[in-house]
Symmetry: C2
Subunit: 399 residues, 2 copies
């Protein structure tokens, strides 16, 4: 696929005002200023976040100025996007901590060094300085009905759930980022469309400048809902190789092609091959190829190879992995419940997880399935292999 | 009437949370802080504005701390109250100029000197200093639906007229005045109820303090609509004696009793006498008493007496007043139109006023009614008395 077509066609939902206008601007002499805003309420980048970052990287490789904007000011307020109620605000310290970690991970995708290095910006630098009069002037550019058009607010109105007045300020604040950074192009997920269009409006009203907006499709997570930290269904780019591999393998088969398209950079011919393979082969083989590709992208080919071998051994053949962590207990502990060992070792995170796994037959102590985790465990050996779920093994040693 | 009853019963629309609660607070030891907010979009105080000022004076005479708050910051934005569209903002210089003149006039009603002198405050002192984060925190106390409950916004929604987002900030700003001044009581017209209640809410939320709100009824102007500078129907307290007297005389008879009650301080027995007189006598005599009372209040008894005598002479008997201003013209001007002399002397303010008065038979040149003001005026004398409307006379001298 031609690189330029890829830029404006691939993984794009919509371009405002139009694709043609953007193509024209990109073909000019001018170095464009392009940004992606980051909500620093999380410190981790998942494969869904990586989609706009990878789009940013394409602009960077064309020689444009890319900017990663940390919403440290907006983050303290909390974007109401996709929330039914207002969020609990973060402290500024938490926000900065998250931003630091975010940049480190983002550097796997965009370049923060060299001649055309990506800029990092913090919106507290201009938003914290605005006074009441300036806020009033900014808000005077928008009507209440324009704000209420936002789908999320419509939903809340219908459900008779409250909308706080300060939530109207959020899109306007975020829109002002475009003005302060004097932006030509903004990239974001489709869930950010409203906020990005507010910025487009402000650029036109305050700077009489056309701001292009690229909306990118959203990715589904391991439970097939929108990938989001709050759903606990993310695959993070700093996930360790075997966990990343395993999570990809847990995806629904129907997502395999979409993941190839949206999270990797497959040559166009390969997408055809994949599409064909999905109709002929066992999908698990195609998914293994996806998992290996992603681990290679964010780690290395070697680690991808090991993750695959481990997966085949542990999950596909049901054997214990090569390196199994050992936990020592005293012999006096022998009368404790299964639950005690599962939670003490951290093999399960909660009593309810333990019960759920047991009900699925996924708790195995010394080769035997445990049905009731609240029963006592009284082994006759000093070393016991225990297993919870498909891929978690540890050894209990009684000394 | 007992002074205390007068304070909480007379010229009161509603008291929040209740009259009993306010009476209790007023009976305590504590000196209360009571304020009236002034929209400095006008420099003149009319009889409608004087109602809450006179209520403030009652609190002052009881020894409480009264504060006249000049909305110099809010004035720059423009209160949307009673407007169908957002106002054109004033400059800060205009606002301060108006405030200065306002205080001078207000000192006819409340005391700005002595032991318990009234304070003058400007809300720019705290509102201009608020930053974006503080604004966001203030706005987070209110929901969009709470704001939209305001009758004016409901009206606009129904008429599909836009509401600007910054108009939501206005009541919140004004409400914050109560917090910044640490207020116990606020007084205002019924049209300010919403804004005053927002301040009551903020005092409770931020300072856990009960703020009493007194709403006062609004007064009708010379055209029987709500008295308002924008309707041009006001009777201002610094109006010169004969103009004030004349404007009161132009009121509808049905407003006489209401004006006695709301704009003067009649002993309770006198109100009865007035009510009886209105059923028995020619209302013009009762209205003359009202006019004389008001001119006495804002000027002096002597000036009230002269104003009355002049009114009787000019309007009731149709004679020219004693002192008539003279304007000199050259004999070469003799061929000009009636309109030329009417507008050059300032006797009428516009061509349309001249035409309207002529149509009513109220333009008289040298004892003769002028029907068409665009005709030429060719007198055979060197001194001509001309008259426009009931009370305006001047002399033209041709030299």
């Amino acid at each position: 696929m031609d690189f330029f077509d890829n830029l404006v066609d691939y993984n794009i939902d919509k371009i405002y005002p139009s694709k043609d206008a953007l193509v024209k601007a990109l073909s000019g002499e001018k170095k464009l200023r392009i940004y992606l805003g980051i909500d620093p309420s999380s410190s981790r980048i998942h494969l869904g976040n990586a989609i706009p970052l990878r789009k940013l990287a394409q602009f960077q490789s064309l020689g444009h100025q890319v900017i990663l904007l940390i919403g440290d000011f907006t983050g303290m307020i909390g974007d109401p996007t996709g929330r039914d109620a207002a969020r609990v605000p973060l402290t500024h310290e938490e926000v900065l901590e998250n931003a630091k970690s975010y940049q480190k991970q983002a550097s796997k995708i965009i370049n923060f060094s060299g001649k055309n290095k990506a800029q990092l910006a913090y919106n507290s630098h201009w938003l914290a300085k605005l006074n009441f009069e300036q806020v009033v002037k900014l808000t005077s550019h928008f009507t209440v009905s324009q704000m209420l058009e936002r789908d999320m607010f419509q939903k809340r109105l219908k459900e008779k759930k409250p909308i706080s007045v300060h939530e109207f300020l959020y899109p306007i604040m975020q829109g002002y980022d475009s003005v302060a950074l004097d932006i030509d192009v903004e990239i974001g997920g489709t869930d950010q469309t409203f906020n990005m269009m507010v910025g487009r409006e402000l650029q036109r009203k305050i700077k009489s400048k056309e701001k292009y907006v690229l909306t990118l499709p959203l990715l589904e997570g391991t439970d097939a809902r929108k990938m989001s930290k709050s759903f606990g269904n993310t695959i993070d780019i700093d996930e360790d190789p075997s966990s990343m591999y395993g999570k990809v393998m847990s995806l629904k088969d129907s997502l395999i092609l979409k993941y190839f398209e949206m999270t990797t950079d497959p040559p166009i011919n390969e997408l055809k091959t994949i599409r064909e393979a999905l109709t002929k082969e066992n999908p698990i083989n195609v998914k293994k190829k996806l998992a290996k590709t992603l681990v290679t992208m964010y780690h290395s080919e070697k680690e991808a190879q090991s993750a695959e071998e481990e997966f085949e051994k542990v999950v596909q053949k049901g054997e214990a992995p090569e390196k199994v962590e050992e936990f020592e207990f005293k012999k006096a502990d022998l009368d404790k419940t299964y639950l005690y060992f599962l939670t003490e070792t951290g093999l399960v995170e909660s009593n309810s997880e333990a019960s759920r796994l047991a009900a699925q037959g996924a708790i195995v102590f010394d080769g035997k399935k445990v049905e009731n985790v609240r029963e006592e465990f009284s082994p006759d050996k000093n070393e016991i292999l225990i297993k919870a779920g498909k891929r978690k093994f540890i050894v209990l040693k009684f000394v």
